[in-house]
Symmetry: C2
Amino acid sequence: MSYPQTLEKLVESLCRFPGIGPKTAQRLAFFLLARPREEVVSIARAMVEAKDKLFFCSNCGCLTEIEPCALCRDSRRDRGLICVVQEPRDVLVLERTGQYHGLYHVLHGALSPLDGLGPEELRLPHLFSRIKENNVREVIIATNPNVEGDATAAFIARLVKPLGVTVTRIAFGLPVGGDLEYADDLTLSRALEGRREM
Amino acid sequence: MSYPQTLEKLVESLCRFPGIGPKTAQRLAFFLLARPREEVVSIARAMVEAKDKLFFCSNCGCLTEIEPCALCRDSRRDRGLICVVQEPRDVLVLERTGQYHGLYHVLHGALSPLDGLGPEELRLPHLFSRIKENNVREVIIATNPNVEGDATAAFIARLVKPLGVTVTRIAFGLPVGGDLEYADDLTLSRALEGRREM
């Protein structure tokens, strides 16, 4: 005897999530079966509703339910500042700090010629026209600290600087609360390189 | 700016799963948003369908879509053998070994007076009538190897033995593929206790 069919289907469905293997999927399935029907329906509905209502803002590329998004409409935000990130979730991460009050530009990836991700796919032409048309004074590049992210940052910097705009890269260094001893060499060299006078 | 409302609701929904915190929930949410609509709908539907179609077999207590369950209906299974387990998922785990061909009895818990789980709540009277009515010759107790599971096993053994039925407990010892060095003291003493002649 194997699983009853609907249980098998549920476990298979849950297995599609990243990082969830058959054992965890089975645990989640049994959890669902032990919950009241309304709760299961509400989780299922939240999934479909999110998929139906959320899309990417045509201006900045972040996730939104309205067009343009709340960030692009917010008149209190500094329109002279654009922070460039790779993914929509990066916007949420940065917003959580409460420290940034400019606008965003989500690339939905990083330059990667091998994967066919060139400047057009990353909406870079749209970034450049946003910069030109909106009197932007600084572009903060917050792509990931890896080969693709750095290459993308360099590419953007090369094209934006001639427009007379300041281009900055977020700082790399020791994570706060971390331990010098456990920092990898690359992070440590970047931390030395980026040292600031106290 | 916080999450768009539907995204927030989705992340909250996913957080209800055991072992899934806000960070993992956010990762899963973004995964869902990146999948085609049909796939999201199919996962959502699998959840509700499982909840709607699965119930517990009135005879053995395992998860099923039909009454009585496929295990109880299967004429090739040895009706003289009943394996007692705590949870419906334990049936699946044992079935996976392919080594057991008798029937099951799921208690849906273990004796725990503090939690109000007495013999009645665990369907123990039903187990005893199954044993009497079906000419059962052996009851294998596969409750968990902890205080509640052991107490439940002892309770069942005390009541079933007088019926002239053999009562056995699954073996405890070193997990296969494990390392003696890493076994805890209790497992090791149980392994010694349960030693068998070679």
